[in-house]
């Protein structure tokens, strides 16, 4: 079977997965309506207002949420159909709370989340791979044992707590101890007090960027540390595995020095599975980090999905859910293809 057939099969499979996710999503977010008979419209308008509305107006109101008042089985099919059409045309409905299109709300927060998750993932991956390679060269050494124990510690750490600790130390105690010399913001993504300064200044953009980076630092470190342990362990174990292969023995027998063996022969092969992992990471990147974003009150998608869930703003949760799942499926697909392209030994099948 050739590459083309493989890709076609993967595409069909991916499409089926998307359909499954779309259906799952539909039922998940209509569970309250299905089980309890509560609709979002009930949360919006009072019983009195409801009685005063004409049947037509009520139907219009329900329709805004893709719903039908007192649905029977045919209405459910109709709702499902509307939902499918909307999903595949990119119409995610409107937020119950702000009455703005959900997609706009998401786009407003997406850059923040991408910035936070992107920078922290990159930091974690680079440091993880680097230390993993350094340690794998001498497995069982004191350095190796120490690094593995550290990675296990990070694995056991509730990352949001790490965030709280960093926030407490760097944004509360250190500013007090150093008289504000070392100081990080306690909350938020950007300081709105600087608004006038930024808008009335030719270099305002730079000030705003610096301010955002200042706010970004602590959550980025938190998530970076959280991700580091996994990349490090994966890299280390892969490389140790690779170093027992025959071709490494051959390389050594050729008289290459150990560094060349490690970096040219070992690392190249050990990076292959890493590529998959990295691609998958970026698949879940818009997932955000609900807990860390909540701790730092970062204006991103992770916190938005949670806040919307709490105030029962289902269209938002449903849309974010949908986007995350589809991105993850796409990333999986790309990871599979990358793996095949990078490793000539892979036979499609």
């Amino acid at each position: 079977m050739g590459l083309r057939e493989y890709v076609i099969r993967r595409v069909i499979y991916m499409f089926l997965l998307v359909v499954a996710v779309v259906c799952f999503n539909f039922f998940l977010f209509r569970l309250p309506t299905l089980i309890l008979g509560v609709s979002p419209v009930d949360l919006m308008i009072s019983e009195e207002l409801r009685r005063n509305l004409t049947r037509d107006a009520l139907e219009q109101l329900y329709l805004r949420f893709g719903l039908v008042p007192e649905p029977d089985i045919f209405d459910w099919i109709y709702m499902f159909w509307r939902y499918i059409v909307n999903m595949f045309t990119g119409n995610f409905g409107i937020s119950f709370v702000t009455q703005k299109p959900v997609i706009d709300e998401i786009m407003e927060r997406l850059p923040n989340t991408l910035l936070l998750m992107g920078t922290s993932s990159i930091v974690a991956i680079i440091i993880g791979i680097w230390t993993g390679v350094r340690v794998a060269a001498e497995p069982g050494s004191r350095k190796d044992v120490g690094a593995v124990t550290l990675a296990l510690f990070i694995y056991s750490l509730p990352i949001f707590w790490l965030g709280m600790m960093l926030l407490m130390i760097f944004a509360f105690y250190l500013p007090a101890l150093t008289n504000g010399l070392i100081s990080f913001p306690l909350f938020g993504t950007i300081n709105y007090d600087n608004f006038a300064l930024v808008t009335n200044n030719p270099l305002g953009g730079l000030i705003a960027a610096a301010d955002i980076l200042h706010h970004l630092f602590l959550p980025m470190i938190t998530l970076g540390v959280g991700g580091y342990g996994g990349y490090f362990l994966y890299m280390r174990n892969n490389l140790i595995d690779v170093m027992t292969e025959d071709y490494i023995l051959t390389a050594r027998a050729k008289g290459l020095d150990e560094n060349q063996v490690l970096y040219k022969h070992g690392l190249k092969n050990a990076m292959l599975p890493m590529v998959t992992i990295i691609a998958m990471t970026f698949g879940f990147i818009i997932n955000g980090a609900t807990l860390t974003e909540t701790v730092f009150t970062w204006y991103g998608l992770g916190r938005y999905i949670f806040d919307s869930l709490i105030i029962l703003d289902y269209p938002v949760v449903q849309a974010i859910f949908m986007i995350i799942a589809i991105t993850a499926i796409l990333a999986n697909f790309i990871a599979d293809l990358l793996y095949g392209v990078l490793d000539p030994r892979i036979k499609y099948g």
Binding site: S156, P158, W161, T294, F306, A328
Partner: protein, 524 residues
């Protein structure tokens, strides 16, 4: 005569030998032993939680002002007031010192009853026996601190106040009942002829009245809770604190609490009537408890939370929630994972295809958001949290089991079992399953870590039962109330530390099990 085969020592059984080999290998790993010890410690803590906790662990059970620091922090601040019970014997187990004063002191008497059995409380009786015309000594205090009569009885308890600061708040509790006889009982106004008092007496001998009783009285024991005002506290404690001029008003740092019984001026003259001339009878005050809780900057082992609840008790009970949810959720997801993995690996074909595609599907669903949504929909009970966590937890296990089963199922022993007519279920559970289990142990232990962290995350977001004390909940309260903006670092540090230590212990054990039982790693 026993069969020699059966009389073989249990030490020769395969299970024992296998376990002994395993243990010999395991104990070479230091972190594995450390993890095991921590696990035993935490399990003990969860079991002994009712004994270890000092207060009701409910997060809303207010026992003191909020954000009080742990007591041991007063080491760095010797003058800081440690919250606590300051009466040395609040339940009157030992006889207190009684004093009778005034010209008619012989009308009064006192007795102390030590508790004989567990079910009888110790108590003190103060009695005033009065025969008609025997006389009263009325001497009304213009400052209303002393009783109207100069003849009365009281008992005292003293305590030291080592701090150079007055308490922020003081609550007193007096539990007493009053038995009346004779005219005190039958006359309509009998109840206003006497009063029960509480005084604070400082070491200079100044009396400050903080409570007096009023009618009606019943023999049934009743609680009186007395919240001292700022003036009461200043009068009682002010003299023991070094003032602005650098001197201390009272000679020493001792405060005395006195509970007394005295006639009122009504007994001498009530609107022209003179009850002292014709009253016969007695008043007996039974006191079972006199307690004084002074609040300061420090409280208990770990201070108080944002709602003024005891942090230590919550921390202790939190270990129950984390261990229960961690272990049960992992158990559930392991069972599902093993069944799915075995079925997929053993039967292969279409079943394998369907099950593994389900796994693929679950892997692209975002984990925490799904847990949040389900927890919010299903409700915050412990059972639901367990289900929510295990819904996504089984996929990894099933993949491991599947690959292991696929490697095992073509081996000769399986084929021979099939040849003698063994059923599929029999082969799966008697032959294949035992060969898969060693791999599972490490997976299970590491699964517990995931479950504990998931639970704490959900609790942090407020999606678990708000009445249950849990570590994640404590962190949520600390975050929601701005714990460290108030300088209360202890509400942030300790719950997180507990989560970390417990999951670290499971990680260490899991890592060691992996090293010992995973043959691929053992060869290294």
């Amino acid at each position: 005569m026993a069969n020699p085969e059966q009389s073989k020592s249990w030490k020769d059984s395969n299970l024992y030998i296998g376990f002994k080999d395993f243990w010999n290998e395991y104990k070479r790993h230091k972190i594995g032993i450390l993890g095991l010890l921590i696990l035993i410690l935490f399990t003990g803590m969860a079991i002994a939680a009712p004994q270890l906790a000092t207060h009701d662990p409910s997060p809303t059970n207010k026992v003191a002002p909020n954000f009080l620091a742990p007591s041991w922090m007063s080491f760095f601040d010797p003058n800081g007031v440690v919250t606590g019970e300051y009466i040395p014997d609040p339940f009157l187990v030992e006889a207190p010192s009684f004093t009778k004063v005034g010209p008619y002191a012989d009308q009064f008497s006192a007795t102390h009853h030590a508790s004989e059995e567990n079910f009888t409380q110790s108590y003190v009786n103060l009695t005033w026996n009065y025969a008609a015309g025997s006389g009263v000594s009325i001497d009304v205090d213009p400052e209303k601190q002393m009783p109207d009569s100069s003849s009365f009885i009281y008992f005292t308890q003293s305590f030291d106040w080592p701090f150079e600061r007055i308490p922020s708040d003081v609550n007193m509790t007096l539990e007493y009942g009053v038995t009346l006889t004779g005219d005190f009982k039958t006359q309509e106004l009998g109840g206003i002829m006497f009063r029960v008092y509480i005084w604070l007496i400082d070491s200079s001998g100044n009396w400050h009245q903080v409570y007096h009783s009023s009618s009606p009285y019943t023999p049934t024991l009743q609680d009186r809770r007395i919240d001292l005002s700022y003036f009461d506290i200043a009068a009682g404690w002010g003299g023991m604190v070094i003032g602005k001029d650098g001197t201390q008003e009272d000679p020493n740092d001792t405060l005395t609490v006195a509970v007394g019984l005295a006639p009122t001026k009504n007994f001498d003259d009530f609107l022209g009537d003179h009850p002292w001339q014709y009253y016969n009878g007695s008043v007996t005050v039974q006191v079972t408890e006199i307690s004084l809780i002074a609040y300061g900057e420090y409280f208990g082992l770990l201070g108080t939370t944002d709602k003024g609840a005891d942090a230590w008790s919550q921390l202790v009970y939190g270990s129950r929630v984390s261990l229960t949810i961690g272990i049960l959720a992992t158990l559930l997801s392991t069972i599902v994972g093993v069944v799915v993995g075995m079925a997929a690996g053993y039967f292969g074909g279409r079943i394998d295809e369907i099950l593994m595609r389900t796994v693929d599907f679950l892997l692209v669903i975002p984990g925490l958001p799904l847990m949040m949504v389900l927890a919010a929909f299903l409700g915050p009970s412990i059972e639901n949290i367990i289900i929510v966590i295990s819904i996504l937890g089984w996929t990894g296990t099933s993949r491991i089991v599947r690959s292991q089963v696929m490697a095992e199922k073509n081996k000769a022993y399986v084929e021979s079992a099939r040849a003698i007519g063994a059923s599929d279920t029999y082969i799966m559970y008697r032959h294949i399953f035992p060969n898969v289990t060693p791999i599972l142990f490490a997976d299970i232990t590491l699964g517990v870590v995931g479950a504990i962290l998931s639970e704490s995350g959900l609790a942090f977001l407020g999606l678990t039962d708000p009445s249950q004390p849990s570590w994640g909940r404590m962190l949520a309260d600390a975050q929601g109330s701005g714990g460290f903006y108030n300088g209360a670092w202890w509400v942030v540090v300790f719950p997180g530390l507990m989560i970390t230590i417990l999951s670290l212990a499971f990680t260490f054990v899991g890592h060691t099990l992996d090293q010992v039982l995973n043959p691929r790693l053992r060869e290294r």
